[in-house]
Every structure is written in structure tokens, then in C-alpha cells.
């Protein structure tokens, strides 16, 4: 389905049919992005709906003729996801501190050999849960979503230098985790 400027204009005028069309299109396009931020699909959909609401409200304030809907909507959605992260920062930090060891064990049981077999998506994303959330977000935004450090700094309200430091820290910690997991798997194989 192609999103035309007419559909966007109708959405801006609160036309339900057009909004539903846009919702379906956006769901298929961006729900995957939301799934990267939430392990629970219901939470991801709730965040997606919040993002879509921002998209609809934002349509009235932009030039619909010149818009690249895919890029613009993704930016809006990521902003919403980051906002959600900020709101729940303390909560996530707590979960991280409590569940790190258990999640590492779980990861090890899911991935038999990281070097030889392809790891499933869930196992890879679980790795991100083992590092501090802010570092994980910088890593995700930089490596997966393609933002540069200035943009990440704006999104997360940190400086470019801090963003670079978090990226470096994230890579180092992920490298350590991957090494630990390989060791665990080697021991299992030996047994």
C-alpha cells in the first residue's frame, strides 16, 4: 500500500477511514522497531499506539507534499520510544540490576555456539538487557537505527561525547558477555 499525500491530508482532518489505512501501513513498517525496545508485545503495541497518535497530531503541522513519510514517522516513533524509556528509566535500571545473572544463563541456554551458529533474534536482544539501559539505547540507536552521535545526544539529552562513551562501553560490555557465553558453551560441550 502506498501512502499518498491525499491520505495524509485526510488523516490530518481526522478522517477515520484514512487513519485506519495509515495505521495498518505504519504498523507493518514500525512495529518491528517497537519490538526492539520491548520484550512484551502488548507493551510494544501500546508504545506504538502512542507513537501513532503523535504522528497523527504531527500531520497538521508539517508540509504533507514534501514529507518522506517513512523516514519522518520512524523518527517520531523512535522519539516516543525514547521518551517512554526516560519515563521508565528507574524501573528499567532496577530490573537490569536484579536480572543480569539470570538472563545471562538464559541467553547461554538459548545460544549453543555464538561463533558457529546463527543466534536467534531474541537471544541477541537479550544481550542488550545485560548492559546498562542507557548504553544499550545508544548502541541500538547508533548501530541499528543509524543515528549519529549528535542526534543521539539530542534524543537522550546527553552530550555527543557522552554518547560516544556509552557506545564504546556498550561494545566492550557486549564483547565481554559474548566471551562469557562462549566459555559457558565450551564447558557444556566438554561435559
Amino acid at each position: 500500500m502506498h501512502i499518498t499525500s491525499e491520505i495524509l491530508e485526510a488523516c490530518a482532518k481526522n478522517d477515520r477511514r484514512a487513519q485506519k489505512q495509515l495505521y495498518e501501513h505504519t504498523y507493518r513498517m514500525l512495529m518491528g522497531v517497537c519490538m526492539r525496545y520491548y520484550s512484551n508485545e502488548e507493551d510494544a503495541r501500546f508504545a506504538f499506539n502512542n507513537g501513532f497518535l503523535k504522528i497523527i497530531n504531527g500531520l497538521t503541522a508539517i508540509n504533507l507534499e514534501e514529507i518522506n513519510y517513512a523516514a519522518w514517522s520512524k523518527r517520531v516513533m523512535v522519539n516516543v520510544l525514547i521518551d517512554e524509556y526516560r519515563k521508565n528509566k528507574n524501573h528499567h535500571t532496577f530490573i537490569f540490576a536484579k536480572d543480569t545473572d539470570r538472563e545471562l544463563e538464559l541467553y547461554a541456554s538459548n545460544a549453543s555456539n555464538a561463533g558457529e551458529e546463527s543466534m536467534n533474534y531474541q537471544a541477541i536482544m537479550q544481550l542488550l538487557n545485560t548492559i546498562p539501559p542507557i548504553s544499550a539505547h545508544v548502541f541500538t540507536l547508533y548501530v541499528i537505527d543509524g543515528y549519529n552521535h549528535k542526534e543521539i545526544g539530542d534524543l537522550l539529552e546527553i552530550t555527543e561525547g557522552t554518547s560516544k562513551w556509552h557506545l564504546s562501553t556498550a561494545r566492550k560490555q557486549l564483547r565481554d558477555r559474548l566471551g562469557e557465553i562462549e566459555l559457558l558453551n565450551e564447558k557444556r560441550c566438554a561435559i
Binding site: C34, N49, F52, I56, F139
Partner: protein, 401 residues
Amino acid sequence: MSWNDQDIDQLFKGAQAPEPAPFQESFWSEMEAMLPAQKRKKVGFWWIISGAATLALLVGGTFLYVNQSGQTTHTLAAKSTSHANTPSVDNKSTATQPVAETPSANETISTKGRFTGTDEASCGNAKHTKNGAIKTTPSDHLMPNDDLTDNTPFRSTTPVAPQAEELVIVDRLPPYGLEFNRTSRFPEKNSSIPTDCKNLHSCMLEATTFPKAPRFYVQASAGIGQSAQHVVGQSDLVHFYTVGGGLYKKLDRMVFTFGANVRVDFTKNILYTTYPSSNTRVDTKYSQLYSFEMPVSMGYEAGRNSIVATLTPGFQTAFSGNQQETQSNVVVRSEQTFGKISNAKTLTMEIGATYWRSLAPNWYAGLGMNVDILKPFNSTMYAGEQRLLPFNGQLSLRRTF
């Protein structure tokens, strides 16, 4: 294996994200609840307002049109008054008649020619002769008549229906004129009246006691009664208000009305529930029900009192109320809503009786009791159970025209 930065980046970039759950309509329902309300919902309200205004204009316009037609007829009849007070068409010939020994003839003399009553012998251009005879001439000597309530100049050429002329005579005649007509010495003169209204007395009685012309009425009512649904633990009381108008007709002692009302019922226990998906429930609580009714009534009037039986068919048009959506026992949406009533009969029907009492000319107060014989909420999707014959009482105020 040693992991460098590129390997780690590639591991995460290349990870294939799982497909999210396929799109479902229920996802959109969740989203729709978060979106700003559509303006379209207000259109229904304006439809009702404009419909009511159109109805009022139609009724008012019809009333004015009919009222003006009546005034035209009355004016025409009034113009014939002076004609009626002059010698009648049957009395054109100049004649010298001996004065009869009637009091009316003497009274005519005492008025010195100013009174131009209906007494054929003493009409305007009567002249007294020395021998007591009255000489009548055609209307060329007609005296100006200041005593008449209607100063419309005489137009002898105005064509007036004989019946209208006679009715005006009834309105204007002083009592002695009526008396004279009863004892008229020229009964054959009245034979020219083509209707059965030959006797002025009976004619007057007929004109004042049994008006046959259709009238209009406007009416406002307030009532209280039982809800069509009975829900355990909730109040079954409803109160309602109607405004309307229509035709009002009296035939002899019978009274007939046919009208149109708009009605608003305020309810508390009409609850409509749907289940769009397995864990989603939408409860719509109706606060107000909007109906359009066409009551027909027939009754008997005795003096200032009347009793009428009323049949009130109608149809429910819309409701307003609160809609609440619950997912897994968590309320995700709650908003005011307005729309068409779902899963219910549109047609409603009431029968009842009303006692009316005239408070003042054209003003009536009514006390009525009605029973719903068509219960609209027959669906299993409404909470509670149908009440067998819900009844209500209402107070009304009516003005006729």
C-alpha cells in the same frame, strides 16, 4: 572467537527481527479510542435541532396561513354589516306602510333616525309621516351610522354570501334585534337564507357552542415512570419530557387530536454490551433516549372537563450516554457518545388515558397515564430483563388556537 567492534555491530544489524503479530482489527479499535473524537458525532445533534426547527416552522406557518384565511373571511363578513343594517335585498322597494302598534316602531322614532337596526320597518332611510306611517326609501338617504361598532362604509356592490351575512347579524345584533327577528312580521323574508340556519337564536347557539373549524394545539409534558428494562439493584425510574403540537378538533362533545412530539427520556439502567474480541468488552450506558411520537387521541368533553384515550406510536431516533471499553478487566476508554440505538426496535407504542381540565379559555391541564405496549429493548444484549407493561404518568399543559 574474539569479537571486534565490526563483528558486534554486524551481529546486531543482521539479526532478523521476528515478525510482529499480524494486524488485527482489534488493534485499530484500541488506537481509535486514543484518537480525537470525530466531529461527525455532533452532526446528529444538529440534525435533531434543524429537524425540530423545520417542524416548528411548518406547524407555525400552517397555523398562520389558516389564521389569516379566517381573518379574511371575518373581514369580508364584517364589511357586510352595514349592508345588513340597511334595508335588505328583499326590502328595496319604496313603500308607505301603516305603522304597526309595535314597540319597535316607537323606539325607532325615539332614536331620531340614528339607529339603523335590523327592524325592516325602521331601517336607515325610514321617514315618518304625519299620520304615523313610515315611508321607506332606497338607501340614497342613508344616514351615517356612528353607533355601529363597525364603521366600514357601506358598499352595496360587495358580494356577500347570504350565510356569512346572517352570521354577522347574529354577532352584531342587540338583544332586541334578536327578539324582533323571532317575532318578525315578515317570515317570508327569511326564506331566502339557503341553509338550515333560519332561526337566529339557534344559529347563534350553533356558532358559539359547537365550533366545527379545526384548531391547533401546542403542548408540553413532563412525566415519570418505569423503565422498559428491569435491572436488579438499579433504579428503574425514568423521567421524560415532550414538546409538540398538532391538530385539535371538536365535533359536538367529541374531541380529537392528532399531533407530533419530540421526546427525551432520562434513564439510568439501559446498558448495552458488546464483545468485539475475546478480552474486550464495550459497555454503553444510555443516559438520554430521543424519540419522535405521533399521538392520536379521542375523547369526550363535558363542560370544562374531558377524558381522552390516547394511542402514541413513535420511533426512537438516537441516544446519548457514556461508552466504556474494558480490556482484560482494565478500562482503556471512557467517553461520552451519541448515536443510533443498537439492537432494539425502532418503533414504540403507548396507550393511555388523559384527563383534561380547562384552566382558562384555550388553556388546558392534563393528567395522564400510559402503558408501553411495544417494548424496544428486546435484545439479549441489554442488561436486565424486559418489564411486562411499564407504565408512566405525565402532566401536560396545552394551548389551543
